[in-house]
Amino acid sequence: MSSIARAGRLTFLFRLSDILRSLTDVNEILEKAGYLLGEYLGVSEVCYAEVRKEADKKHFYIKAVYQEGSLPLSGEDVQTGEHKHTLFEALNRPHTIATTDIAEDPGFSEKEKQAYAAIHVHALIATPIFKDGELSGVFCAHQNQPRQWTKEEIALTEEAAERILAAFDRSIAEQKLLENEERLQAIFSGTYEYIGLLSPTGILLDANRAALEFGPCKAEDVIGRPFWETIWFAYTPGVSRKLKVAIAKAATGKFIRWEAFLIRPSGEEMIFDFSLHPVKDETGNVILIVPEARNITGRKQMENKLRSSEAKYRHLYESMDEGFCIIEVLFDEKNKAYDYLILEVNDAFEKQTSLKDVIGKKASELIPGINKSWFEIYGRVATTRNPERFENVAEGKNYYQIFDVYAFPTGEPGQGHVAVLFTNITQRKEREREKSFLLRLSDALRSLDDPVKIQAIAARTLGKELGVSRVVYFEVINDSYYVNENYVDGVPSIVGFHAVTTFGNKLLVNYRKGRIISVNDVNKDSGLSPEEKAGYADIQVRAYIGIPLIRNGSFVAGLAIHQASPRNWTEREITLVQETAERTWAAVARAHIELQLRESEEKYRTLFDSMEEGFCTLEKTVTGIPDFRFMESNSAFELQSGIKNVTGKTLNDALPGLAERWITIFNSVLITGKPFRFEQPFGKEGKVLELNVFKVKRNWSNYIGVIVKDISLHKQEETASHWLASVVESTDDAIVSKTLDGVITSWNPSAERMFGYTTKEAVGQHITLIIPPERHQEEEDILIKLRRGEKVDHFETIRQHKNGNKLNVSLTISPIKDNTGRIIGASKMARDITSRKASERALREWEERFRITLDATRMGTWDWDLTSDELIWNKQQYLLLGLDPEKEKDKPKNLAYFLQFIYPKDLEKVEKNLRSAAEGVNEIYEDQFRIVRADNGKKRWMGRYGRKIKDENGQFTHVLGVMYDITDRKMMERQKDEFIGIASHELRTPVTSIKMYVELILQTLGDKADKQSFAMMQKLDRQVDRLVELINDLLDTTKIAEGKLQLNMKKFSLNLLIKECIETFMPSKKHQILFHADDLESITADRERIGQVITNFISNAVKYSPDGGKVIVRSEKEGQRVRVSVQDEGIGISGEMKSKIFHRFSRVNNPQTFPGIGLGLYVSAEIIKRHGGTISVESQEGKGSVFYFTLPYNV
């Protein structure tokens, strides 16, 4: 080889290597390398035929990479064996083929030769490329004319092919690596897991986006630092050390994983699934550690919650009283439930069912013969998946229990699983059944009045209930059991007498001791002799229960039940027989007594109808207003009283005018039990009835009897004389009657007083006894007039007292006529007129008393002349002002003189009041003020009271009055206010403690306490609230008295305040609080105080409507003011109280008026007054009240 050629080859290979080194793309490698080779060899074409496999058939995919004079074959698929025979041959020959002239080469078929000729290929070098022992492609250089290839050219082509192949491999690997890395990077940065890269020594090389965001930190802050010193672990104590150890372990090639607990800067605690993956090189050295962390906090929390909820469920499940089980319902081919399997039960299951070792067993195994209804129900629950609640009897052989069951589907649909929660209610049901039986029995017996029938019904009812052969109610008569009636079922009746010995002496002894006997099998009863056993057998009794009934210590009757076969009596059955026995006896006894009663009533009725006096009985009505209803009356009652058809009517219906009086009397007779007699004017004809009222002695004590008699005639006489007599007895005038001869026939008490003679002394004497001798003639004249039938009227004359004193009298003398009109005497009335003179003396005495009173009470008097302004004072008036009466009394005094003693601060008020007294229409003047005493300059409180006096023309001319010292009273009042103030203040501290104790107890007790205690504590709480309210009112009261009630004015919405006030009242069933609000502008006032008034109104409205009803709160505009009213439907207020209700301590003198009204209204009134508002009430007793106040918008 020439050196030039050698250098050219080297240059070629050098350039080829250069190009290939810098290329990564396969196509580019081919093109560039092909071009280089094509140029170097000066061939017409370079191509690469890639072997592609498709369904086990190989073909070439030709890619031309250099073209110089040949026709391109690029992209063409060439089937092997067609016209590339040579190449096909090459498959089995890993040698390069070099052909100088294809047309001359015997290795090519004619067909191939033509095919090469068609693409202008006449000479070629083809180098096969093998990979893993298989042909993967052929690298070819073509020449468009025959060419003699040098060895050099062939070798070069082979070399190029080799290098291209190497470049291919590298390129593909690189490509894959690149792809891998890209994918890796994407995962690395895209994942939400926290991933990093560590050097084996633990230095952080990289961290993904998620990890950096989690930090949060920037890459430059953490990369290059030891992993355990990075921000992720900075907040969790101890974790760094652990991490360091773990990394050291991972560096030895171990995969490490644990649940790491990390604290975030925020203090939040998180749990991570943390792992360290060591990455090894081929030699097994660890070159990288990949830390990876996954946040599993949520999952962990869920797991924890699940665990605790499971534990709770488990605990509940095991500790609850209700039985619980999970069953699988078994279905047959027709999808009908035929049994169920018990899968799981709780502890209570056994207690509730008395069944043991149930798990895995079928219901039909546990309770043989169990009723099918259970399967149906559970089958339905499993199929429809709707829960059901029901009561059902589980009845099988030797098993009878009743359950209250709640069954609900569980598990997956189709599994047939049902959860069953249940309680055994057998005992409760049996009790209910027993109760219902006894109720039925009592009902049946109550309506019967025949003792025998009662026995029959009782026996039958009991017999059917218990399903026994015989039920016998017997009475003990002498030495026999006597059976009136019995119930039998398949055995003979035993009605009649039976000697007590028939059934054994032992039984009788036990019966007499009141013992209940139950025998399950007579034949096994060792206490019976063979004869006695035969006695039982005679009447087919094998088992029995016997209940003796003892009354007043002796065995009087009994109830027995018999069974023809042995029977195990239950406790319940014995109880039932006993109860029946008691009830039957009671009913029989009642029937006997009623029978006797009927007989006695018969007798009573006869008497009742035949008596002459009217008689009726009445019963007090039970409901409504107190009244009595006529129950019966005899015919004489109608005759005597004239009242018809009273039976069934009440007194108010029959005798409306008299009812009130009679009811009162009848009631008192009922209460005292004492008979009462009274007379009753009756009807218009002056009829008078005498009524004898007595209590009817029966057990029910609301009966009275009344015997009525008409005593009208008798009464009329009596009344007239009584009436006259009482007039005569009671008059102040002396009344004397005398015969026409002048003999005194009567002498009344006033006559005794006036003339000094007693009746005894006067009657029978001549009338001249009391006439002074000089006037005897006068009497004669009078008698003459009287005999003529004339009356003497107001004849003033002089009579004489027993003691000789003369009396000025005025006489009226009338004739007295008998029935026929004949004058038989005279009645003389004498009036003493001596006393007129006495009044003058009395006046003088009064004046004296008045003066003494004034002195004693140190009361000054004053007389103010309104025309002259002159003042006239008494001595006390001077002394009260500290003046010397002797020195001052002659000084001229007018109003100005008086006013100089008034305490300056009160002066204005005193003047104003006096002026209005002088000018106003009010007749009364009243004032309280302080004066400064002239002698010592001390302040004293004075009260002043006066009245305006009119002259004859009706003009006010004077004010007359008194003045008195009230300093002591004022001091006491102030002390009282101070006392109340201090007391209520001091009370607030202990009340605070009490209140909180009560709240604490209520809170602590919660549901633990029994209802009663809890309710009592709530009541206590409310009472403490009331106490607090009272204390607050008391404090407010003293503030008002001291003028210290301060208002904290601000602008607010009144409607909103009212709404708040209403909301503080607990909703009550009885009361309905309504609010009708007008559109209002904001008002300026003390919000808290106005709220206090509204609350007080509403609370009174509720308190004083004990029967409930509506409470209507209204707010209305009223010109420049706003009006708030609270209306109730309660008891209302009387007219008298209305004026007092807003006064302080209004209850003091009206103790019975309003219990519990307190001081609230007084405080309310003061609050409203201080705002310049008005407060008032409109009310009607029994209908309700409207309390209202008005306020100006701006005070």
Partner: protein
């Protein structure tokens, strides 16, 4: 645990307060008079509750003292009293809040909770 100092000379109040606050999870210290609060070595609590009317130094006086001292001026003070003017008086003495007797347990607890 939040520390609470209560000064009240009424035994009833002392008892119920210690009950309530202990139950509510506070560390409660109770004094009958204000003097111990004016000593230098007083361990700073999280809140003071002072009754106004105390034998010896008045509660308002104690409050003024606490509010004037650097170590305690930031500790909230609640004044309680039966005096209806306590709100105004407590404000003047620099207290953070006040309650007029009688009050409900909840009012007291809520008010304390608001400051600690």
């Amino acid at each position: 645990m939040k520390r609470l100092i209560i000064v009240d000379d009424d035994e009833g109040i002392q008892d119920i307060f210690s009950l309530i606050f202990n139950q509510a999870g506070y560390d409660v210290r109770i004094y009958s008079a204000g003097a111990p609060l004016m000593e230098d070595h007083l361990e700073k609590p999280d809140i003071f509750i002072l009754d106004k009317q105390l034998s010896g130094i008045d509660g308002l006086e104690v409050c003024r003292f606490l509010k004037s001292k650097d170590t305690t001026k930031d500790v909230p003070v609640i004044m309680i009293s039966a005096n209806p003017n306590i709100k105004k008086l407590a404000e003047e003495a620099g207290a953070d809040d006040s309650l007029e007797k009688p009050f409900r347990m909840k009012e007291l607890l809520d008010m304390v909770a608001k400051y600690v």
